[in-house]
């Protein structure tokens, strides 16, 4: 296989992985919000999101996989925003320790 094809395939896989990781975490958040219990992934939030961001950024280097990378990055940014909003506003609206 040519080097260019290998590069394309790897970047595509990175993009898909970034999107799927974001979706898995989003599904975990949905589950915890609807059930009222802590999600299974809440303890590894930062490393999970960082990995998703890195994979997303890598896949944006190629024009063909850029859309996947941006999709994964968008999901990661949304998850980060969600966590920040819930933490900061949660601290505001519940006045107890």
């Amino acid at each position: 296989m040519e080097l260019g094809t290998i590069k394309n395939t790897v970047l595509h896989i990175c993009g898909w992985l970034s999107v799927v990781m974001g979706l898995i975490f989003l599904a975990d958040i949905n589950l915890s919000l609807l059930s009222g219990y802590d999600g299974a992934l809440s303890n590894i939030f930062s490393s999970w999101i960082m990995l998703s961001v890195v994979l997303g950024v890598i896949s944006t280097f190629n024009k063909k996989s850029r859309s996947l990378g941006l999709w994964g990055l968008g999901l990661s940014i949304y998850l980060g925003l969600f966590m920040a909003v819930i933490f900061i506003l949660g601290w505001t609206i519940v006045p107890f320790p």
């Binding site: 958040i29 969600f82 506003l89 609206i93 006045p95 107890f96």
Partner: protein, 327 residues
């Protein structure tokens, strides 16, 4: 044939025998597009709940604040439920999609101790109270839906529905080793300090404030109103609006003014339905604070001795507990 033509022919022959990868590429592209559509649909679906949660948190932080709803609920109960107090750490808040659940415990002073009176469970959708559950631990439950004459504390010109003579007999029959909570209607309007001085051997825990409408218990619009009043004893509970209050009367008036913009919620929270705060605030500001009835607690014998006071008109026995009066 020169070397160049040979090379070209060789390449042409090779390409003729190589299986075409066109359909494979098309299949892969279709597959990729199919997955993109599936995953983008899943993305949109999975974004709905977290986004709604963020909007919910935003509403309770910047719209009608969760702390405001909590304050309205607690202040309403302080002024409409005689002889009750709330504990800060007993408040439990839960948020779900566009709604908030508020649960807390209410206490009553009987004798020297505080006992759980009711457990409240309030469900708000945004700022609308949609469900209220009360789990009462009381043996004597104060009338929830007021009529003109079913109150346990009555204005001097107002009639009562219970038999006060029977209540005095019930009180007399209680063992000496008990402490009693009693609702006392007075024969006139008094300053709370006067009542406290006259009833020095018991704790005056709550005083009903005269707001100009209690002779008939009807507002100027003809709606049945509920008695309102304030806790008289010093309250050092961190959460209490009366903590470090130099004048409970002024704190009470302030609370009424704070509740006025949220009167609809307050009326939903309170078991007593009509507060008519506007005209009652105006009356208190003009005429000052006078009481027509109080809630007292203390040893049975001391409560019984209140019968000798001229100012006592009616008595209704509330909760009774075993002796805990350590003074």
């Amino acid at each position: 044939m020169d070397a160049y033509e040979k090379l070209i022919n060789k390449a042409k022959n090779e390409s003729e025998f190589r299986p075409s990868d066109g359909p494979k590429k098309v299949k892969r592209a279709i597959n990729s597009s199919k997955w993109k559509i599936i995953l983008s649909t899943i993305t949109v679906i999975l974004l709905i709940v977290p986004t709604c949660y963020m909007l919910t948190f935003g509403y309770y932080a910047f719209g009608t604040k969760s702390t405001t709803l909590m304050d309205v609920a607690s202040k309403t109960l302080y002024i409409t439920e005689p002889n009750t107090t709330l504990e800060e750490m007993e408040f439990d808040m839960d948020f779900s999609l566009f709604s908030m659940n508020l649960a807390f415990e209410q206490y009553k002073q009987i004798g020297d101790d505080f006992y759980p009176a009711k457990h409240y469970d309030l469900q708000f959708v945004l700022n609308d109270l949609v469900e209220k559950n009360e789990d009462s631990k009381l043996e004597k439950v104060y009338p929830g839906y007021p009529t003109q004459t079913n109150q346990w504390i009555a204005h001097p010109k107002q009639m009562i529905e219970f038999d006060s003579a029977k209540e005095w007999r019930v009180l007399a029959g209680l063992p000496e080793e008990t402490v009693v909570e009693a609702y006392i209607s007075l024969d006139n309007l008094y300053r709370v300090e006067e009542v406290e001085t006259a009833m020095e051997n018991v704790d005056v825990t709550w005083a009903a404030v005269y707001t100009g409408r209690e002779e008939t218990m009807l507002s100027s619009d003809g709606d049945v109103i509920s008695p309102i009043g304030y806790p008289v004893q010093p309250d050092e509970t961190y959460w209490s609006p009366f903590r470090e209050s130099t004048s409970h009367e002024e704190t009470f008036l302030e609370m009424l003014k704070e509740l006025q913009p949220y009167e609809r919620i307050a009326e939903e929270v309170s078991p007593h339905k009509n507060l008519e705060l506007e005209e009652r605030i105006a009356y208190i500001e003009e005429q000052g604070f006078e009481t027509y009835g109080v809630v007292v607690t203390g040893p049975k014998s001391e409560i019984e001795s209140l019968r000798e006071l001229d100012m006592v008109r009616y008595l209704k026995v509330g909760e009774v507990k075993l002796w805990n009066w350590a003074r």
